[in-house]
Symmetry: C2
Subunit: 160 residues, 2 copies
């Protein structure tokens, strides 16, 4: 039985599994696009291609992991998607997933309720971390419409 | 200063604010559609109209609040969107937001790490609660593409 007095909504370990599950699903979405469409297709122009959104997700995730570990949240150099090379995107993606796996459990729990200054405003560590994942889910959901418009079956949402 | 020993990633109070923020944003998305398009338009058929997705979000959210409070997670009667009347959808939406505000803080923290049997599998209370919000963000992101395809400016994602 769990002791009510010490129970929490989510532990660091569960949050890591949750975040990595979303990263694995987004990776499958990146992979299922045809490479030329990943960086060119939009279901509703001028919305950005999914590959550009995926680079944004990568940059925000990297900023968030660094911020949670160091307290520094510098504005990323967005560069509109960095490159149009899927292999380069996936390499950066996997490197960050590896860092997350090795480093996330070192985050001080006290960091979550504290307020931090991000490029997009003041917020708690919790708000910063969950906003990063929310942003990933939001854009990935858009990627699902792109895939459907292209006649491609997206990966199952509930598989992580 | 926060005491590290007792700090948690997110408190019940913060989780409630987080959930309600998403509900407020989704409500704005429901409102910004033209009513006939809310229940008929799809940017990538056979994807469902956003109004049908919004009813699903409502039903899953209701199931989740009930489950967290009672331990019972009965399969909803989906009925493909219940009705095509936006006023009826918004009325149900607001009633549930009111219940959430009054009842969510009564959820026993011990419920989150415990495993529960939902219609879509066994999972912890944390996984059930966050999956509900993930599903809302995912479908709402799809609604953003629908709005862009219709030439309608969606509400700002970062405003809650």
């Amino acid at each position: 039985m769990t002791n009510t007095a010490t129970a929490t909504i989510v532990s660091l370990e569960e949050f890591l599994i949750y975040w990595q599950g979303h990263r694995a699903l987004t990776r499958r979405v990146i992979e299922v696009f045809a490479e030329d469409q990943l960086f060119t297709f939009s279901a509703a122009p001028p919305m950005r291609p999914f590959g550009v959104m995926a680079w944004e997700i990568h940059q925000v995730s990297e900023l968030t992991l660094n911020g949670l570990l160091t307290g520094k949240w510098p504005e990323p150099d967005w560069r509109e998607g960095v490159s149009k090379d899927r292999a380069e995107l996936l390499k950066a993606w996997d490197a960050l997933s590896g860092r997350l796996e090795r480093e996330f459990l070192k985050v001080d729990l006290a960091f979550f309720p504290q307020t931090h200054t991000l490029p997009w405003g003041e917020m708690t560590g919790w708000a910063a971390a969950i906003y990063t994942i929310d942003n990933e889910i939001h854009h990935r959901g858009q990627g699902y419409v792109y895939l459907r418009a292209l006649g491609i079956e997206p990966p199952a949402f509930y598989e992580r």
